[in-house]
């Protein structure tokens, strides 16, 4: 696991973690572990570093009103905190995706011409 400590992917994660969480929650309400699993699976483990850093992000999203949470029983019977995306969270997601698309598009243009 030492490879995670200084991986350039950490930097990427910081900027886009919020985006990934919101995207994940559009499918269905999930608990923190579920969100982490989902992101790790879809990004083929590239974004699975330091799963714990998910929690500060979740707090931040709640403080902004983009996500709410509720304690509910999980399939194993043990209770877990389930996160739901709010309407303004969805709106925010849309904005961030457009912004990201614009950046990606711009970068691609530069790369193709270079």
């Amino acid at each position: 696991m030492a490879r995670t400590a200084k991986s350039p992917r950490t930097e990427l994660l910081r900027g886009t973690l919020d985006l990934l969480i919101l995207q994940t929650l559009t499918i269905r309400p999930l608990h923190g572990y579920g969100i982490a699993q989902h992101i790790a699976r879809l990004s083929e483990d590239a974004l699975s570093v330091e799963q714990g850093s998910l929690y500060p992000a979740l707090e931040r999203l709640q403080a902004r009103g983009w996500v709410t949470s509720k304690w509910e029983p999980s399939p194993t019977g043990r209770r877990a905190r389930y996160y739901t995306i709010t309407r303004s969270g969805e709106h925010q997601l849309g904005e961030e995706i457009s912004a990201l698309d614009a950046v990606v598009l711009a970068i691609n243009r530069v790369l193709r011409r270079a």
Partner: protein, 905 residues
């Protein structure tokens, strides 16, 4: 709704921090358990449960840090963190009460003194004048060029006609007004007050933008036409004092200087006029004013204030005033016929409000008190460093457990800022006392006695602890906390885990590193203290010089006071009144002599140009200048002014006999060098009015420093009051056998019996007056001396602390030295040397800085060079003694270390 979701979340995070944290914990547990189960499942049992749990933890990362970050991310979590830090800090302080008390008191001393001086700076230099749009107010004055012995001035008062000319010839001022301060005798019913008032016109209040709280202003007629109405405005203070704040005061009569005036208005609370102490205002043109009728163009007694018209800058106004000044000079040329051209100038009232010497002194004190605070900070930083090395292990453990460095620094800074602010709050007590002390100073009379200008609009009573001062204190507490806390905090959290974790915390196990910054701090403290000592030393020496000056008269055993004259008395009866009063006073038991003069020492009074009859009249402008003193014949004896030649004035010098005059030694030397002055004739120069002609010199008396210690005696002449009876404001002198103040009651009683209703006022001993004239330099010396003493004490404590600490750290080394044969003296010498090195480095730097900066002391110095070698030598000696003393105690402890014990530890 998301706004409310967010709000709900945040409120819950703040109000129920415990629950919030538990939930976070549970959530993370859940995560880890599920992940561990997943890992176990993925590896199909290849890893046992423990290994899986460890793998999950590694994947999760620094749990404490994540939890902390999450808490910080929950919006207002910082508030919770702050609360936590504060609670932690309080617990830490409770565990180390000695440390806390010393630190808080040190800071309280520094911050309190700073707040007090800041209050004075704020009140006298910074705070806007208490009028609407104060920056639009200008002080307008006449200027005169150098005339013979008189230096040029740009603050000359106006005459009524000259100002009328100015008023008519400019459009830069929306309003302009004339005023001058005058003491009044105010009587209402059976109460009589002798207090400050002002003569002015109807434009005074409107220019300043002050409205009467009750009643009305003077009308234009009352303000400007001779004797148009006997009306008065009174201050809120006088209204409370004489009329019990009765609203029916309007229309009532108040007696001023024996004449009735109708009260037409009461001014708002706190307004005391531009003199800062007025209780009553009269139109300048009333008949109670003996000089009201036809104020001449050369009767310069009015001060002028003007309010700028809209859109006019102060510079534009000054330029216009200068132009008009030239026209006024053309209309009313200088009477000396010398071709001296007067002018006029205007400057913002804000700049003219405080005597420049008060300004510079205040700034020097502000700088000095800032240095004291720096030293206090250095001391507390040293305490913190010492304590931080004790807490090193605790902090290392916390870093190892995952505490972020930022959080730790934040928390340590919370501690130091809390200390700083507490110090500030405790210091407020000191600041309160300090401001009270400063406010009670009669700054204006202090400066007057010293031959300086009056503080115009602002008296020292304006000095108080206001919200700005409180804000300043709070800011100072916080800044102080950061200043002395940051270095120790950064140093304490420097990540060098292994070494600190290995540390067993016992003495001798620490490396010497932490001592470096402590040495630097102490050397800096010593340097700052030396700078302050140099300043204080120079000012104290100046005070000594001033006090050692022979003023030329004997101030001891003398009671002085003034008596208000009755306005309706004719000149000859007032002479008779004074003569009998002096006889009665001289007959009082315990009194050896009594006399009076119109121009006593330490009071500003006019001089005149002299014409010496034994030579051709001097060219105008080169006539000698002399101070003129109208005295009763015995006055020079009352004040023990020695008779050097000839005779004193006596009973022979009466109305109708040839005028006799005494000259002082300086006048005799200047006017008749090498000749006998007795029998010479002098008069008042024609250019000065020529009122006095041919007085015969009958004697020569010793020189008196009439203007106070800072100025050398000039030429003075003494004439008998009984030869030219006139209205003068006299000061009566009574020489006593014992305590002069014991005679105050009998003297008052005598005067009251002699002239009931004419108040005796300004009763003080002559020593008090002399002391007052030194009050300005004494105050500067006292405060600077105090600050320097505090600085030295703090530096001594700092030195002691760092030496004692180094001894404690080196106990084992010392033990080895002793075991190897070092004597106690060797060990003590080693320790003392260390102190002396600190003292030499700090003292050397301090001396260099002092040499560079003592020039700012300016007018606080008297006959002492800013680099006076004697003072600097004295400081070096004091410093050496203090540093020796501060290192001697730990040195003795070091010398008595038993080798065995030291090695065992």
């Amino acid at each position: 709704m998301s706004f409310f979701d967010a709000l709900k979340f945040r409120i819950r995070a703040i109000t129920r921090p415990g629950e919030h944290a538990r939930e976070m914990d549970e959530e993370m547990d859940f995560h880890l358990d599920r992940d561990a189960a997943q890992i176990a499942h993925d590896t199909a049992g290849a890893e046992d449960a423990d290994d899986a749990r460890w793998a999950a933890r590694r994947r999760f990362g620094n749990r404490t840090l994540h939890a902390e970050e999450a808490r910080a991310a929950s919006g207002l979590g910082w508030l919770e963190l702050l609360g936590q830090d504060l609670r932690f800090a309080l617990r830490t302080f409770r565990r180390a009460p000695g440390f806390t008390v010393v630190a808080v008191l040190t800071l309280a001393l520094g911050i309190g003194a700073n707040t007090a001086i800041f209050s004075a700076v704020n009140a006298l230099l910074l705070r806007p004048l208490p009028f609407p749009q104060p920056r639009r107010l200008m002080s307008v004055s006449l200027t005169v060029p150098r005339r013979g012995n008189f230096p040029p001035r740009d603050d000359v008062n106006w005459s009524w006609p000259k100002f009328e000319t100015l008023r008519g010839m400019q459009h830069v001022f929306a309003q302009a007004t004339l005023w001058y301060p005058e003491p009044f005798t105010i009587r209402h019913g059976d109460q009589t007050l002798r207090d400050q008032g002002e003569y002015t016109d109807d434009g005074y209040l409107t220019t300043l933008g002050v409205r009467p709280a009750l009643g009305r202003n003077f009308t234009a007629e009352e303000g400007t036409r001779y004797n148009a109405g006997h009306v008065a405005l009174i201050s809120d203070a006088l209204w409370q004092r004489l009329y019990d704040a009765d609203r029916r005061v309007l229309g009532q009569t108040v007696t001023v200087n024996g004449l009735p005036f109708t009260i037409v208005g009461v001014l708002p609370p706190g307004f005391q006029g531009l003199s800062g102490q007025a209780l009553l205002w009269l139109p300048a043109m009333t008949s109670s004013n003996p000089r009201a009728e036809a104020p001449g163009p050369y009767d310069h007694r009015f001060l002028a204030i003007a309010r700028l018209a809209d859109g006019v800058s102060p510079e534009q106004a000054a330029a216009v005033v200068a132009t008009v000044g030239a026209r006024i000079d053309a209309a009313y040329p200088d009477q000396n016929g010398q071709g001296w051209h007067w002018g006029a100038t205007a400057k913002p009232l804000d700049q003219a409000r405080v005597d420049p010497r008060v300004r510079s002194t205040l700034l020097v004190l502000f700088g000095a008190v800032g240095l004291v605070l720096l030293i206090a900070c250095a001391n507390v930083a040293n305490l913190f460093l010492a304590r931080a090395s004790g807490r090193r292990k605790e902090i290392a453990v916390r870093i190892a457990l995952g505490a972020g460095r930022r959080r730790l620094v934040e928390q340590l800074l919370t501690e130091s800022v809390l200390l700083g602010v507490t110090g500030g709050v405790v210091g407020l007590g000191l600041a309160w006392a300090g401001t009270r002390g400063l406010a009670s100073l009669q700054l204006s009379s202090v400066l007057q006695g010293n031959g300086g200008a009056v503080i115009g609009t602002l008296g020292s009573q304006a000095i108080r602890l206001d919200p700005w001062a409180l804000l300043f204190t709070l800011a100072l507490g916080i800044v102080t906390g950061v200043v002395f806390g940051l270095v120790p905090a950064l140093q304490a959290t420097r990540p060098s885990l292994t070494e600190d974790l290995k540390d067993d915390g016992g003495p001798g196990s620490r490396r010497f590193g932490g001592l470096g910054s402590r040495n630097v701090l102490v050397a800096a403290e010593i340097a700052l203290a030396v700078v302050l000592l140099a300043g204080a030393g120079l000012v104290l020496r100046s005070l000594g010089r001033r006090m050692g000056v022979d003023l030329g008269f004997d101030a001891g055993h003398t009671l002085t006071f003034r008596v208000n004259r009755a306005p309706e008395w004719a000149p000859d009866s007032i002479t008779r009144f004074y003569e009998l009063a002096i006889q009665r006073l001289a007959e009082l038991p315990g009194v050896t002599a009594a006399g009076m003069t119109d121009c006593p020492p330490l009071v500003q009074c006019a001089g005149t140009l002299i014409n010496l009859m034994d030579r051709p009249a001097a060219a105008p402008g080169t006539e000698p200048l002399a101070g003129v003193h109208w005295i009763t014949p015995g006055w020079t004896q009352v004040e023990h002014i020695p008779l050097l030649r000839g005779r004193l004035l006596d009973e022979r010098d009466r109305v109708g006999t040839p005028m006799s005059v005494l000259v002082n030694a300086t006048a005799a030397r200047r006017w008749w060098p090498g000749q006998d002055p007795i029998g010479k004739v002098l008069g008042q120069s024609r250019t000065a009015g020529g009122g006095l002609d041919s007085a015969f010199v009958v004697g020569v008396v010793g020189d008196v420093r009439y203007q106070g210690v800072d100025s050398l005696p000039g030429a003075d002449v003494y004439l008998s009051y009984y030869q030219v009876p006139f209205y003068y404001r006299m000061m009566l002198f009574v020489r006593t056998r014992g305590d002069p103040l014991a005679l105050a009651g009998p003297a008052r009683a005598t005067m009251a019996r002699w002239a009931p209703g004419f108040p005796v006022y300004d009763v003080r001993t002559m020593e008090d007056r002399v002391g007052q004239s030194l009050a300005y330099s004494r105050l500067g010396a006292l405060l600077l001396g105090l600050f320097a003493a505090v600085a030295l004490a703090l530096a001594a404590i700092g030195t002691y602390g760092v030496i004692a600490y180094s001894v404690a750290q080196r106990t084992r080394e010392i033990g080895i030295r002793v075991a190897l044969g070092a004597s106690g003296a060797d060990v003590a010498g080693m320790v003392v040397r260390r102190g002396l090195v600190l003292g030499a480095v700090g003292g050397g730097i301090g001396l260099v800085v002092a040499l560079a900066v003592t020039r700012v002391l300016g007018s606080l110095l008297y006959e002492v060079a800013p680099r006076d070698p004697l003072t600097l030598a004295a400081i070096v000696t004091v410093l050496a003694v203090v540093v020796l003393a501060a290192s001697w105690i730990p040195a003795r402890r070091a010398a008595s270390v038993p080798a065995v014990e030291a090695l065992k530890s």
